[in-house]
Subunit: 325 residues, 2 copies
């Protein structure tokens, strides 16, 4: 195989959109695209959409031959059988043999991986985690998720769900979480949580008056904090307090020291970086807070929403090296 | 090398005692011994004690030739350089090149590992974790520690301290922990914590009267719970509540499902097994509590205090297979 004339395609299979990119060996994007998933139209339609996007990306990448496809899928996966175990975004797809179905449709080897784990590998390949052998990518979006790299390799767990730092209990008797439990990191560090905490804090400070309309999104809240609105600032400090504890918990459990933040909330990183680093350092085990401040490194991700598809593509290279996952 | 006529020696280098065993290829103990560490007498004395114990174990093992020594050390380690970074039990030993010093003294290759991680590998070799590729060993003793196995290999972290589940914050504003932080799992699940919680609960229920004298140890407290003393039973339920959350946090973060409990408190496992399993299941992510009750397996360790030295010996085999750590 002439490696210079080949490409890989990484696909990020979301519940709303399918995003994809053709990539060369260095991680450069040769072509990219995004189409509606159309989950409601059924499995065959979704498969056709995936295959169609792959075909289009191939055409757009200048006639390179396709070496393989990496597929990032949200949810629990059976790696051995190449099946979706369960995915909230794909109701009715339990046990669906996604790997063999896509392989049949496109005629090249397919590697599957959890989407957040794939994103971690994307950041490691060409993003904020280059040269890092041990790190946790934490996605701060509508929910809080993550992907974990240990010893240079993805640790995606028994069913691809490792890195789910959002459902670490930080306060057992804290606010209810969408997962059914209480006090999860997600109820303090997601964009949803920021908006909720801002409403709570506004009511506490201002009585029954309504919070500014713009505070209905975390970016509206970030704008207010940027302009030093004391309530908005307090909300980001509160978020930093809990996220710092979550990061320290992971550092203490795994003895790793690099954390990469992605997702919408990470756009406001400069607003909470300082209290976040202090809080993580304060709870780090076996180090003085001064040592921990130097040792625990927290950075913003670089690839944004492209991390998943880029990482999925990279997994094709890694699988070829390791002769399959 | 005739593998049948060789042995390995595993050493558990504690702050008070050095324990060691000569083992054959199957994990059978050929000889074992225990001597005082004599930390206060200085490094040379400790090294002489280690070398002396190794020589005695060799003699006692019927003339087998020694293939290598595994050394479990409490504290942070530099695996590349074979040094102790820092160990609370060995004050003044920071940066000590323990691996090369023991190699010089005994003339065979030496592998070093964190003691709790070594214990996890001991349980995997011939104990409660045989055939488990993914598990966390949790030691419930004076403190709470642990060792983590992922994909069949030890994940001991960047400095050997991975698995320190005892310093996961469960309640950020909880009781102070010896580590300087607050609300760590250790303040709820160690033997020290059980005794403290029993005193607190007794005062709360009985006013100022003193708790029974026997409750000054966790085994005294276990005896009382065995006889259904309501306060003692409540203390074990409280411990199970927090330990269950800790276990769920690890299961959610790492997508692993087996947990092995060792240490003195694990002798009372039958007293808290049921609420512990229920609590872990209640907080497991992406599973119904019913599924989680089946999926999350919590067992007692089998090797007791021998796990560390046995695992350290096993690491010699594994290092030989992998051509060194």
């Amino acid at each position: 195989m002439d490696r210079l004339s080949t490409c890989v395609i990484g696909i990020d299979l979301g519940g709303t959109y399918i995003k994809g990119a053709a990539l060369d060996l260095t991680g450069q994007i040769l072509s990219e695209g995004k189409i509606a998933t159309e989950v409601a139209q059924g499995q065959e339609r979704v498969l056709n959409n995936v295959a169609g996007l792959i075909a289009d990306l191939c055409k757009m990448s200048g006639g390179r031959s396709l070496a393989g496809v990496g597929l990032g899928v949200p949810g629990a996966l059976d790696f051995k059988e190449g099946r979706i175990i369960e995915s909230p975004n794909f109701p009715g797809w339990d046990n669906f043999p996604i790997r063999s179905q896509v392989e049949k449709a496109v005629g090249v080897p397919v590697v599957i991986e959890n989407d957040a784990s794939a994103a971690a590998m994307g950041e490691r390949w060409v993003g904020a985690a280059q040269n890092l052998d041990n790190f946790l990518l934490i996605t701060l979006g509508t929910g809080v998720g993550g992907g974990l790299v240990l010893d240079g390799r993805l640790w995606s767990g028994e069913t691809g769900k490792a890195g789910e730092v959002g459902h670490m209990k930080i306060t057992p008797d804290g606010p209810p979480c969408g997962c059914g439990s209480t006090g999860c990191l997600e109820v303090y560090a997601s964009s949803t949580a920021l908006v909720r905490m801002a409403q709570e804090e506004w009511r506490r400070v201002e009585g029954n008056a309504a919070a500014p309309a713009a505070w209905i999104t975390s970016s509206g809240l970030a704008d207010a904090a940027e302009q030093h609105h004391p309530i908005a600032e307090a909300v980001f400090r509160k978020m930093a307090y809990y996220l710092g504890i979550g990061i320290a918990n992971v550092a203490n459990l795994l003895d790793i020291h690099h954390f990469i933040l992605s997702g919408g909330v990470s756009n406001a990183f400069h607003l909470f970086e300082k209290p976040l680093r202090q809080e993580a350092a304060r709870h780090a085990f076996g180090m003085t807070p001064e040592e921990a401040l130097k040792r625990i490194i927290i950075r913003r991700a670089l690839l944004g929403e492209s991390a998943g598809m880029i990482g999925a593509g990279h997994l094709v290279h890694l699988a070829a090296k390791n002769n399959g996952k």
